[in-house]
Subunit: 491 residues, 2 copies
């Protein structure tokens, strides 16, 4: 399988991505339009992402719950902006029964089992959740509600790409309710920071934090905060969003609470989510022409040990040593596999584990056993060193930390090197057409200007960065005192 290798990123980045997802056994298309199958190896990485995020959500006071897969059609219409954003491309359940076809050809939909009101497979759960919060919230004592849900959602897509854009995807959606605006805004920002921290510290992906322009806002939000990452091909990827929903959903679903003085007020809301799209970000940030590159903190397997031997005596000696080493590593919380499969040659194994992104490979042959050494090989930079077996387990453990840090440094350098400033549309186009990247530019804050720039450059405003900056002349209109924003072509 991996013997075939991948097309080079420089030749066709998009094809490289597809080949990698397939050859590293991460995911595949199903026969159901737009729905993917997440294969065991890909799912193991997703589980690492999920478990760590879940822990961070709990540490910030959130609890998980579960709400229905189906949303009555009428709920979508209750929040005016929301319906425009979500009520279009979705899966609609109209019937609840099949029956045998009269001609014996299989099963057909039973026309007598038509639902009175169609059900929508959730594209996101604000409506069903706020319809529930109405029952949960009477007084300020019931607030805040800090709830998260891990779930599958469906948004019908005509053009799909594994992990990046699929009709069904897995995600988490946090939905919180607060008694004050300030508390809701704080929550929105807190969760954006949790996402940014997770991406940097675990995925080794640096991100720019900002807010979306009105055009790019979540349907029903007052403000959409986002984290934007830069992929190796110079395109941006929105990795997570956190929405300040104001009182929009509370008003749409009539959710009020009595404050300490007994006065009824509408509740303030946030929602925030990341999805299996993060898998795409992970792949496109670190991986190379040999296959997947994984940060040690998210690698299902951190270390693989490959024996090099000519006969069973040699293998036995190596095995005895390795079994001790494995125990030591497992005690230190390092996941490790000894691949002593006799049917495959070391070279085949090397290629296979490179494709799968195992961060560290150890090779041990008879000469190593004599010299009491092993050969360590890093997946991220292919550095090879022969080092003593003395104190090896802690050296390995430290090296994994080093790899994690180096990946982040490397991605940080890439981000910095590929962030430019443009003062004219021509400059912006020149940058975007040559190498891509983030382009900072001044913008006068008007939607029609944003639209014009998009038409001329195919770039969108990824965000208005949270970080304060100077103002200047709008890149399109020349208007003074315009804000600095971040443009890019994006996934």
């Amino acid at each position: 399988m991996s013997s075939k290798g991948l097309i080079k990123r420089s030749e066709d980045f998009s094809k490289w991505y597809n080949e990698l997802v397939s050859k590293a056994d991460l995911a595949e298309h199903s026969d159901v339009r737009g729905c993917m199958i997440i294969k065991p190896y890909g799912y193991a990485i997703w589980e690492k992402i999920k478990d760590q995020l879940d822990q961070m959500f709990k540490e910030t006071g959130h609890q998980n719950a579960y709400f229905p897969l189906f949303i009555p059609k009428s709920y979508l219409s209750k929040e005016a902006n929301h319906v425009d954003g979500f009520a279009k491309e979705c899966a609609v359940v109209t019937h609840y029964r099949l029956k045998n076809a009269e001609d014996g050809s299989g099963v057909v939909v039973d026309p007598d089992a038509k639902l009175d009101e169609e059900l929508i497979v959730r594209p996101t759960s604000e409506t069903i959740i706020w319809n529930t919060y109405k029952k949960w919230i009477q007084s300020y004592r019931d607030l805040p509600i800090l709830v998260n849900q891990w779930a599958n959602v469906v948004r019908w897509e005509m053009r799909t790409r594994l992990f990046l854009r699929t009709s069904e995807f897995l995600w988490q959606e946090g939905h919180t309710a607060h008694s004050t605006k300030i508390e809701a805004v704080e929550e929105t920002e807190k969760m954006l920071n949790v996402y940014a921290q997770f991406l940097e510290q675990f995925m080794a992906i640096p991100v720019i934090k900002g807010v979306k322009t009105e055009n790019e806002r979540f349907a029903g939000a007052e403000e959409t905060y986002c984290i934007e990452a830069l992929m190796q091909d110079g395109k941006a990827l929105q990795a997570g969003t956190s929405h300040f929903l104001g009182q929009n959903f509370a008003k749409a679903f009539d959710v009020t609470f009595a404050d300490k003085n007994g006065i009824q007020n509408h509740v303030w809301a946030t929602s925030w989510g990341v999805s299996t799209r993060l898998m795409g970000a992970l792949i496109m940030t670190h991986s190379d022409d040999k296959g997947l590159v994984l940060p040690p903190k998210l690698a299902p397997l951190q270390v693989v040990i490959v024996p090099i031997y000519k006969n069973s005596t040699q293998l036995e000696e190596i095995s005895n040593y390795v079994n001790e080493l494995k125990q030591e590593l497992l005690k230190m919380g390092v996941s490790v596999k000894f691949d002593n499969d006799d049917n495959k040659k070391p070279g085949w194994k090397f290629a296979e584990y490179e494709m799968k992104g195992v961060p560290l490979r150890i090779a041990i042959g008879p000469r190593d056993m004599e010299n009491k050494t092993v050969e360590l090989s890093r997946r991220d930079n292919f550095n090879k060193t022969t080092i003593s077996q003395n104190g090896l387990a802690s050296k390995i453990s430290n090296l994994l930390i080093q790899i994690q840090n180096d990946l982040l440094d490397h991605a940080n350098s890439f981000l910095n090197e590929n962030t430019y400033f443009a003062s004219t549309i021509e400059e912006m186009n020149k940058i975007l057409n040559s190498k891509g990247g983030f382009v900072e530019a001044f913008w006068n804050g008007e939607s029609k200007t944003e639209q014009k720039i998009k038409e001329l450059t195919k770039a969108t405003i990824r965000c208005i960065p949270l970080e304060e900056s100077n103002t200047g002349k709008c890149i399109f209109t020349g208007q003074a005192n315009s804000k600095k924003v971040l443009f890019a072509r994006a996934y």
Copy 2:
């Protein structure tokens, strides 16, 4: 909330169950027919169940993956028995787009967005998974495949009960593929044993292991193994099933492999699952008229500490002590909460934590502080003891183990005391009409006899126990050499 208390089990068991699920904040009905909302406290228990099972699946060599929510309608027809069992009451997606109603009244289904082939929301995933395994399996080297999926499934239900029978529920479904029949049967039995072990050791629920009669088998299985538990009202509950699917799905989806000699054979299959129904089993096994009773291993909160005080000096003294104790307990892996909410009285708190099933309550007042004691109160049997603060953390930790064991002993006694033998239909009816329970009886193995007994007693054969037993005269036909089987009225 909990001040209102519950109706007594002896008065109306079914109503008691509903009230408990609501008042312990476990779950509630949504406005979507048959779909439940699992509330944070209920979900926290489900997470404990899920995490432990997931660990046991991984320890037995399984990996998680994810397959599509939707199944093309035609797939269901491919396995003849399967379609009869599952293609009836299910949610059918017929369209993929909504549009604004012309009269501005909201959104309507876009008739132009009709799917060529309807999609079924998965009621179980054998068909979509075996359609995928076809691509994954070519040779014996690709086997076994040991995959599990955590997912939501939908089976349209007209009469629903929270956790026990809902249109959407959460579950796990294992789907394995093997090269030999013997290996597949071993897997089926292994996973049945994993389930039985989990129920006994974590849920403190003893179960009877057996196989289903042909009538009660999973649609498409050659043999359905099951675990059956006995609820406090004397009704049985099927808690988990493990199916030996033979080559049925491999044949339906044409999945073959080349063996070592290059001969093509059909693959052997198993599937096995447990669901949020386990929450119902947990509640109905242990809980009492005061509310939920939880085994410590599944309790989101194992210990609650309630201070008894008259002034802030007393509270501060107690707090100082409790904060130390908390640290010790947390280090031992015991989850603990200090409820120092000044707005609620101790009596209110006691009732609340009893309703929520917190296994151990500690009350500390000024006299306790003087005497260096605390009052421990067990949720399961209401035993109260005043004990020294000396070495308290390890006493608590041991007591939690004791409670876990006592709950299992108690449930075991209940099971034994409520398992009867009947040699006539009259005897069986007498038992079932008075107190319920499991009734052992001999049965000649014929479906029509099974049907007759069901008509006369409303009891079904829960299983043919795996444990060997003597044979005897069929309870209905009098036929000799009949097998001993287990009858009960069931959920």
